[in-house]
Symmetry: C2
């Protein structure tokens, strides 16, 4: 037996007990006549003591040979500490060691195994197994586990059945790029890894499973952006005989349960906002409503004053930054530079200051007198000490730019607190979006999303105006989930594929099995999928999902620890009847 | 709202309530003046009634247009049934329908949606979504979900953390064939899909995660045998600072919890048997101990009687089939033919009958007198009415053949009851097995398995004799799990790789990251993996795993419902810088 207790459980209650402990040597303090070692495992740290007066010379000799991260087993007696440490679970006791066994030695680790480490990102990824020994990483993985358990228990209690859908499926050109898997038994043919179990969950509804969920790996072969992973985890759900309202209720309940568990607070009903309102008020379909700075449109107030930029603009819109009137000229110029960066792409920004002394001034005093500015300030509800920032131009572009500025200010002003949570439903998304590049409509959510019944007639006349029964769950400015009521009628589904530019043959080849299934009694159904990696990160007050993945890949899709992907043997390629083009 | 209740919950308590129900039309009985419809969903069946006296003519008209598997929604009043059906949950009531909405029509399904269907295997797989509507399939998927939940809750309660390991990993030529995934971002390189998360779970132990589990998809590109799937699900576990005994205890506890839940019985400590004993007593390392027929070796009793076949045999071994002395000559001949089939490959079989009248006779009366036969019968503990079957030849072969016969007789005699459970640990497996074909040792479990400390010296002198700290969990004659104590010392691991014929370079290229990790304080660790598909099937009294998989593949690795694998677009191949050999 390697241990009678873990390193996180001994207290004064155990005084005088003989115990066996195992773990890693975290720190060694050698005072010559006495020596202390912090012994670490997943559960905590226990202080070991070696004492010239009470320990044998051989034992102290052995202890002196230990190094950081050595794996040891000790036997000893629990004694009360002279100087207690209230910060750790075992801080009232220490172990007077009587026997020491080195289970495994360790080379000096390439970075320190401490909460604050000296190791850079690359190094820590290469030695991820050492990184995982550190509390901040270990705790995130444990947090993830707990959230997964809570989700599963909540959904199981709501009669959801977790069904495993296949990983080796079929490639569909729609959407992002698939990872493919050559089939040796069917040469020249390929499986694809699922981007989501979408069609399978719909088939499960047609199969009468009624309520399905799965916490499941999904795959997307995209050019990776920062914090995008080629494999990611989804909480995937589907319900039959439901309307949008039923889905919202269930997953509001689920999210509130997780939030209550973390914060102790009841979140009640989540607010809802239409897509149109979200765009108008926040320039963004996933607004962070932990803070205000709602958009205010002022075209009617600013036009006709010879300020050509505003006169020509499709939209003049701004935000009121409370208490920012004391920003220096330099600070404001820096903000203007920030919105002019190519990533944001604004041409400029106008400011209006409502000074603490009651004076209102602006960067366009030439065109607007104090009375004009007062009216503007009035529309924003600005008060003394506030700073109004105005942007103008093309409606869609300027909203996106101002939204970026709003989020940036939210961060700078500390308004985006990790331990504050503001969930929100965004509903009534457009069904379709026009893609300039391909000159056709794309499904905003996916091709299986149902239009609102009252908008179906628009599919014939003005498809771009049709709204969908689609909804996103937003938390702190991040989309953590999205879903829709599905089409369950073969003819409507065929019409959708047609609108999306599929030929009848393409639709049949790719989704024939689903269309076919619709003919055998498909029930009304709807669902939702939540990005589990992101959900967990945000619930833990963080936005970097990589930290919540045990073995993440880097931005080139590589696992630098195991060095994958890698070349494979020629015989493997032969068996798959494949050739590398490189080698031609 | 599509329903106020499901079809499995209304009882006499709900009499006179107005309810809304939705579901599928299971059966229609039309008596002209009255009409009954069984409405089905996942939760049960509710009887609907349309009555000339109480329902409008229009309503009855509409109802007459319904067909099997139509999806409908009804409103009506709960009334007491005249003739109650005690076999279903809602058997005391029926619904007098007041309003009927057809949510979706259905074509006539290609097979009947009944517990006993007229659909063949192929057809049901093609329309798997209809097959899932049938109780026997639906119930198996729900059972699987419940078992997964219980496993997760048990292990979580035991401080195990579920950690998701990556699906896109690195190919290793050792073991079965990998599925590979070409990397577009790293042309000419491939990921592999994991055959198991073996190295990752060991790295998690080195990372201090202490107790890990995962219910996880694994992949093997093997030529499929009946009931083998290219993707399968494993309960994968690993523990640090443990010995074999600790692992056995935890997973005995887990299995007993599942068994208790199913049978209501306490299973206590599971019996244990060494590999050597299992082979000697049952000719098999996964014996079904629900029934006896243990092997008895009788070489010492039968030799020297001029029966050359026995005299020349390395081993003469038999089983006593209780109560089978009344088998006719024809029945016995059929058994002899059965063991002579090429799949079994025996050259023959000798029988000894202990007749009900006390007379003992045999198929070798020429060589053995009644006294000889009595001695044999005595060694078997046979009594009047029993039939002894003897086989002889090469030790390993004859054990395998007799084991097959024993299992066949177990099936024929109804001794292998689905609702009886006999768990068993088989321990002390050999570390290595000699492979005639390649002329080298293979790891019996896998290359990371630790030899028993007391057998390590044999690695130098007689490696084939070394036993491993490896163990299998057997349930009803099926291996449901297997595991081992792992090597955690770099030098011992290097020695193992060497024994298995790896060059230093190969070992480094394939497992360098693990060997490297061993240098930074690897703790002692051990683990187990259970085949979840098989475990679930056996716990449900079944042995066909395909029934417990929502969307299984056929024996050519094809999903006949979605028709995967399939050809992919030329552009996809181009992006991957791959060419099909076929097209050269």
């Amino acid at each position: 037996m390697f241990r009678t207790h873990t390193n996180g459980e001994l207290t004064l209650k155990n005084i005088n007990e003989n115990v066996t402990l195992s773990g890693w040597v975290q720190t060694i303090r050698d005072k010559g006549f006495m020596m202390w070692i912090d012994l670490r495992d997943r559960y905590g740290i226990t202080q070991l003591v070696f004492d010239q007066d009470r320990s044998s010379a051989e034992l102290i000799e052995e202890a002196k040979k230990l190094g950081r991260e050595f794996v040891i087993q000790i036997e000893g007696k629990v004694i009360e500490r002279a100087s207690k440490n209230p910060n750790i679970l075992t801080g009232e006791i220490e172990i007077l060691v009587e026997k020491l066994i080195v289970l495994n030695e360790s080379q000096l680790p390439p970075f320190t195994i401490e909460d604050e480490t000296d190791g850079g990102e690359e190094l820590r990824m290469k030695y991820r197994y050492l990184d995982i020994r550190r509390n901040p990483v270990k705790d995130k993985l444990i947090f993830r586990h707990k959230m997964a358990q809570k989700v599963r228990n909540y959904l199981s209690d709501q009669s959801f059945i977790e069904v495993e859908t296949p990983v080796l499926i079929k490639s569909t050109p729609e959407g992002a790029r698939d990872f493919v898997v050559p089939s040796r038994m069917n040469p020249g043919q390929f499986y694809a890894l699922p981007q989501s179990p979408q069609t399978f969950k719909q088939l499960l509804m047609i199969g009468g499973m009624d309520r399905y969920f799965q916490i499941v790996k999904c795959f997307r072969d995209e050019d990776l952006r920062a914090d995008r992973q080629p494999e990611f985890t989804q909480i995937d759900c589907e319900m039959a005989f439901v309307e949008q309202e039923d889905v919202l209720e269930i997953f509001e309940g689920m999210t509130a349960t997780l939030l209550k568990d973390i914060t102790g607070k009841d979140f009640g009903k989540f607010p809802r906002m239409t897509f149109a309102d979200a765009m108008r008020k926040y320039g963004n379909d996933k607004p962070d409503i932990r803070f205000g700075m709602e958009f205010v449109e002022v075209k009617d107030l600013v036009k006709g004053k010879d300020f050509k930029i505003f006169d020509d603009a499709e939209l003049v819109v701004g935000i009121n930054v409370e208490g920012a009137a004391d920003y220096t000229r330099k600070q404001i110029d820096e903000l203007i530079d920030w919105v002019k960066r190519p990533q944001i792409g604004a041409s400029g920004m106008i400011w209006v200051k409502y000074q603490n002394d009651g004076v209102i001034t602006s960067s366009v005093n030439k065109f607007y007198n104090e009375d004009d500015l007062k009216k503007i300030a009035g529309k924003f509800g600005a008060k003394e000490g506030d700073l109004i920032l105005l942007m103008s131009g093309n409606e869609n572009k300027v909203r996106t730019q101002l939204s970026a500025l709003r989020m940036e200010l939210g961060n700078r002003l500390g308004l985006r607190k990790g331990d504050e949570f503001a969930p929100l439903w965004v509903i009534d998304f457009p069904l379709l979006e026009w893609d300039e590049e391909t000159g056709r409509f794309h499904a905003m959510h996916h091709p299986f999303t149902s239009p609102k019944p009252e908008d179906i007639h628009l599919l014939e006349t003005d498809p771009g105006k049709a709204r969908a029964n689609a909804y996103d769950l937003i938390l702190n400015g991040n989309e953590i989930g999205g879903g829709s009521v599905r089409i369950f009628d073969k003819d409507l589904q065929a019409k959708m594929f047609n609108l999306l530019g599929f030929t009848k043959e393409d639709a049949e080849a790719q989704f024939g099995f689903l269309m076919n299934a619709f003919q055998y009694g498909a029930p009304p159904h709807a669902g939702l999928a939540l990005g589990f990696d992101r959900l967990v990160a945000i619930l833990d007050g963080n936005e970097v999902i990589r930290d919540y993945i045990a073995f993440p890949k880097n931005n080139s899709g590589r696992d630098v620890m195991i060095d994958a992907p890698a070349a494979i043997a020629e015989e493997q390629l032969d068996e798959l009847e494949l050739k590398l083009k490189l080698k031609d």
